[in-house]
C-alpha cells in the first residue's frame, strides 16, 4: 500500500475549470451582467440582463488562516449563505447569495464571528501582503504582523466607504516588493551594505551569478583570508539587497539599520490617467515589531490628509497630480529630503522641466 502510493505519478491537470466551484446564479449569467450597485458598504448587488440578481457580501480575513478559521467560514457559508464563496486578490472573502433576505443575517453572523464586512468601493481595503518572518527566506520584517497592526488602525475605514476613491495598500518585507503597486505601500529600505561572512561565500554562492545580480556593479570577486569570496564597493552600494537571495552569507537584514519606507500614488487601473508607479515619500522608519507604531503614524497621517483634501473619485495619484508634490509634503508634514530626488535611470523624466510652480 505504502509502496503503491510512493509510485503515484502526478496528473498534470493544470488549472481546473471553475464552473463547478461557482455559485449557480453566477454560472447561469456568466458574461451577461448589466450593472451593479452597493446597497451598503461591504455589499455588492449585481443585476443581470436576464433579470437575475446576486448579492455579494465581502468580509476581511487574516489571509494566513488556520483550518479552524476556514471551517468556520465554511459553516457560515452553509448556514447563512448558499454554500459558495470566492476570494478577492486582497484576501477578502465574498459570500454570494441569490436571495436578498439572506444578506442581513449573513452580515450579522460574520461580524459576530469577528470578520469585518466592508472593503468595497471607496473604502480602505485589506493590505496586499507577503510572507515575511513567518515563511520567507529573505525578509527584513514581518508581513502579517505589520498588516494586522495597520488594519486594526484602519478598521473603520475598511467598514465604511468614506474615502474619495478606493484605497489599495500593500506591504513588502524586502525591496523586491512582492506586495506590488498601491495607493500607499510600506516597504523595507535597507540603509547599510551587506555584511559578508567570507568563510561561507565560496561554498554557498555561485559567485559570477551574484556579481551579475547587483544593479550598480558594486560586487567583485576577491580573495579574503586566503579564501575566494566577494567584496562590495560600499561607496557604490545602494543597499538594495538583491545580492542576498542568491548569496545568503551577504546578510543585508539588520535589526536596526533595515528601515521602513512609505510609497504613495501607485495605480494599476487605467481609469482616468494611465497607470502609475508609486513614489517614495518617507523613509528611515524603525522596524518596530510587534506593532510598528511609527509606520502606522505616517500611514494614518497620509490617509487622513488624502481623505480630507481629495475630491470624489481622485485616487491618491490623481489627488497629488492636482495639488502638486510640494503641497503634498506641506499638508502631510513629511520632510522632503534629498533622497527623494530620483537619480536612477530615466530619472530626468521625474524632474520638473518647466516653470510650472504652484504658489
Amino acid at each position: 500500500m505504502a509502496e503503491a502510493q510512493a509510485l503515484r505519478k502526478a496528473v498534470e491537470c493544470g488549472v481546473p475549470d471553475n464552473d463547478k466551484y461557482m455559485h449557480p446564479t453566477l454560472l447561469k449569467n456568466r458574461g451577461n451582467w448589466k450593472y451593479h450597485d452597493r446597497p451598503r458598504p461591504g455589499v455588492l448587488h449585481h443585476v443581470s440582463h436576464s433579470g437575475d440578481q446576486v448579492w455579494s457580501v465581502r468580509a476581511g480575513t487574516q489571509r494566513q488562516m488556520d483550518t479552524h478559521t476556514i471551517r468556520k467560514l465554511c459553516d457560515i457559508a452553509e448556514q447563512y449563505a448558499e454554500g459558495f464563496v470566492r476570494f478577492t486578490i486582497r484576501s477578502n472573502i465574498e459570500y454570494i447569495v441569490a436571495d436578498q433576505k439572506k444578506v442581513d443575517p449573513l452580515i450579522a453572523k460574520l461580524e459576530g464571528e469577528g470578520f469585518p464586512v466592508g472593503g468595497t468601493g471607496n473604502s480602505v481595503t485589506m493590505v496586499a501582503h507577503t510572507q515575511g518572518w513567518l515563511h520567507c527566506d529573505i525578509p527584513g520584517t514581518d508581513a502579517s504582523g505589520v498588516v494586522k497592526s495597520m488594519m486594526d488602525q484602519l478598521y473603520d475605514e475598511f467598514k465604511n466607504e468614506q474615502m474619495p476613491n478606493r484605497v489599495h495598500l500593500s506591504t513588502s518585507c524586502c525591496e523586491i516588493n512582492c506586495g506590488g503597486q498601491a495607493d500607499l505601500a510600506v516597504i523595507i529600505q535597507h540603509t547599510k551594505p551587506p555584511k559578508i561572512n567570507h568563510d561561507l561565500v565560496a561554498n554557498v554562492c555561485e559567485r559570477p551569478a551574484v556579481v551579475a545580480r547587483c544593479p550598480v556593479a558594486a560586487i567583485r570577486p576577491a580573495l579574503v583570508n586566503g579564501k575566494p569570496s566577494l567584496e562590495v564597493d560600499e561607496k557604490k552600494c545602494i543597499c538594495c539587497g538583491a545580492c542576498y537571495p542568491p548569496c545568503p552569507p551577504m546578510q543585508i537584514n539588520d535589526p536596526e539599520h533595515s528601515k521602513l519606507a512609505i510609497w504613495v500614488g501607485g495605480k494599476n487601473s487605467n481609469a482616468r490617467g494611465k497607470p502609475t508607479f508609486m513614489k517614495m515619500v518617507a523613509s528611515g522608519l524603525p522596524n518596530n515589531a510587534p506593532r510598528w507604531p511609527e509606520v502606522n503614524e505616517v500611514v494614518g497621517r497620509i490617509l487622513r490628509t488624502y481623505k480630507a483634501d481629495a475630491r470624489p473619485w481622485e485616487r491618491m495619484a490623481d489627488w497629488i497630480d492636482r495639488i502638486g508634490w510640494p503641497r503634498f509634503f506641506e499638508k502631510t508634514g513629511l520632510p522632503f529630503t534629498k533622497y527623494l530626488i530620483d537619480d536612477w535611470r530615466g530619472s530626468r523624466a521625474n524632474l520638473n522641466a518647466s516653470n510650472h510652480v504652484r504658489f
Partner: protein, 432 residues
C-alpha cells in the same frame, strides 16, 4: 494536546485589536500540534531579534522541478541542532486555484482535512502570485499531501525560473465590465505551459495575468510579463432609463465634476437632446427629457472611468476583446516597469481566438527563452534590445498605438526608410 507553548510576548500583542488575528489562529492550531507550538516559538524569536531565520533548499515532488517552497530553520543551538525541532522544516505547497478563486465549501473543507493531516494547518488564501499557499509541511509529508491534493483535481503552481501561477479577475462570472471570458483564457493559456510551470528552465520567471477591462483588478499591467486586459472596439453602450436614474440621484454638479471633467481625453460633452451628433462613432445617454451626455467614441481610450461612475447607464460596447501588454515587472534589477502595449486588440470569444492567444504567448516565451540573459525579465530584455527587435522576433508589425510619442532624438540610422514605407504600403494594399 500538544506540548506547552513557548512564551510569545510579542506575538501576544497581535491578538488585540479588532482585525482578525493570524496569531490567534496559530495558537488554536498549537493546541493540538507540537509543530505549530514551535512555529510560534520560531516566529516570536524573529520578533524579538528582528530577523528572519528560514533558509531555502531543495524539496520537491516526483516528476516536478518546482511548486514547493522549501524552508529549513536556521535557529540552531551550539551543537547545530534546531532549537525549535518540531518546526525544523516548514515547506509550502503552491497550489493553483480555480480561475476567479471560486470555491464550494466541500472543496475548502477537503483542503483543510488534508492540511490537518499532513501539514501545519495554516493556509494562505491566497499568495500574491495567486496560489493557494499550503504553508508548513515536513519534507516527509510533502509528497503525501501533494498526492491527495492532486487527486482532488488540483495542480501545483510555479516557482523559480518558470512560468508562474496566473490570476484572472472575477470578470464574466459577476462583473458587467468584463470584455472576455477571463477564466477560459486563463485556463487555455496556463494549461498550455504546464511543462514550463513544472520544470523551470527559462531565463527567469514569466507571469501571465488576465483582467477583463481597463480597471485591471489583477494589476496585470505591472505584475505580469504578459498582461491580457479587456477592451472593446465599438461604441460605449448606453441605457437611457439608468442614465436618468443616475442623473436624478446625482445631478449636474456631480456629472460635470466627477464624470465629464475626469475623462482623460475630453471625449464627453453635455448636449441638448436635439444637438447630439448623428455620426456612427457617437453614443449618448439621456439625463432627463432635455439633455444628454454625448460620447465621442473615436476619442475615448476605454479608460473605464465614466462607466465606473455611471455603471449600467454606460457599459462597454459589444465588439469586445483584449489588449496585450508585455514586460511588466517589479524593481529588480533595473527598476519597476509597466507592460508595453504590443497588440491593441484581439478577439477572445471562440476556442480559435484563444488558440491565437496561446500561439502569441508561445512565441513570446520562445523568444524570451532564447534571448533573455540569465535572471533577466521580459521587460528588461525588451529595454536592452529595443521594442522593434522584440516585435520582429515575435512577428508583430509596429503600430502607432504602441507608443506615447514618436522618438525625441535623432540617434537612429534610417537608411531603410523607403523599404519600410514600401512594406507598409504593401500591407495596406493586401488588407484592402
Amino acid at each position: 494536546m500538544a506540548k506547552p507553548m513557548h512564551p510569545t510576548p510579542n506575538l501576544d500583542q497581535l491578538e488585540t485589536g479588532p482585525w482578525p488575528s493570524f496569531v490567534t489562529g496559530l495558537k488554536r492550531l498549537a493546541k493540538d500540534k507540537d509543530y505549530v507550538v514551535d512555529v510560534l516559538g520560531h516566529l516570536e524569536h524573529s520578533y524579538q531579534t528582528r530577523k528572519g531565520y528560514w533558509k531555502g533548499g531543495t524539496v520537491g515532488v516526483r516528476g516536478y522541478g518546482g511548486g514547493i517552497i522549501p524552508r529549513f530553520t536556521e535557529i540552531k543551538d551550539e551543537a547545530g541542532q534546531p532549537v525549535f525541532k518540531d518546526a525544523a522544516e516548514f515547506h509550502t505547497l503552491r497550489v493553483m486555484p480555480p480561475p476567479g478563486m471560486h470555491y464550494d465549501t466541500a472543496t475548502l473543507r477537503q483542503f483543510c482535512d488534508i492540511w490537518d493531516k499532513y501539514g501545519s494547518g495554516l493556509i494562505a488564501l491566497h499568495g500574491q502570485s495567486g496560489d493557494i499557499m499550503m504553508q508548513g509541511c515536513t519534507t516527509e509529508n510533502v509528497q503525501k499531501a501533494w498526492d491527495e491534493i492532486n487527486e482532488m483535481g488540483f495542480d501545483l503552481g510555479g516557482a523559480g525560473p518558470a512560468v508562474r501561477t496566473s490570476m484572472s479577475c472575477v470578470g464574466a462570472a459577476r462583473c458587467e465590465q468584463s470584455c472576455y471570458d477571463e477564466a477560459k483564457a486563463h485556463k487555455a493559456v496556463i494549461n498550455s505551459f504546464l511543462d514550463d510551470i513544472h520544470r523551470p528552465a527559462l531565463p527567469y520567471k514569466f507571469k501571465f495575468k488576465f483582467s477583463g477591462c481597463g480597471n485591471d483588478c489583477m494589476n496585470a499591467i505591472q505584475r505580469s510579463d504578459m498582461a491580457v486586459i479587456g477592451t472593446w472596439r465599438d461604441n460605449i453602450r448606453t441605457d437611457d432609463e439608468l442614465g436618468k436614474k443616475w442623473f436624478a440621484r446625482h445631478g449636474m454638479n456631480e456629472l460635470i465634476n466627477d464624470v465629464v471633467s475626469r475623462c482623460p481625453t475630453k471625449a464627453l460633452q453635455i448636449k441638448d437632446a436635439g444637438a447630439v451628433r448623428k455620426d456612427a462613432h457617437i453614443s449618448a445617454v439621456a439625463l432627463d427629457g432635455k439633455q444628454c451626455l454625448e460620447i465621442d467614441n473615436k476619442d475615448c481610450v476605454r479608460c473605464m472611468h465614466c462607466i465606473n461612475v455611471m455603471t449600467g447607464a454606460l457599459a462597454p460596447g459589444k465588439d469586445k476583446g483584449a489588449s496585450i501588454l508585455v514586460g511588466g515587472k517589479s524593481h529588480l534589477k533595473i527598476g519597476g516597469l509597466m507592460g508595453t502595449l504590443v497588440v491593441p486588440f484581439m478577439k477572445l470569444e471562440t476556442e480559435e481566438d484563444r488558440e491565437k492567444l496561446v500561439e502569441l504567448a508561445q512565441s513570446i516565451i520562445d523568444f524570451f527563452a532564447e534571448n533573455a540573459l540569465e535572471h533577466e525579465r521580459t521587460g528588461e530584455m525588451i529595454e536592452r534590445i529595443g521594442l522593434v527587435n522584440f516585435l520582429e522576433g515575435i512577428g508583430l508589425d509596429v503600430d502607432a498605438h504602441m507608443i506615447n510619442t514618436p522618438r525625441t532624438n535623432p540617434y537612429v540610422r534610417t537608411d531603410g526608410w523607403d523599404e519600410e514605407v514600401a512594406k507598409i504600403e504593401a500591407r495596406k494594399k493586401a488588407a484592402a
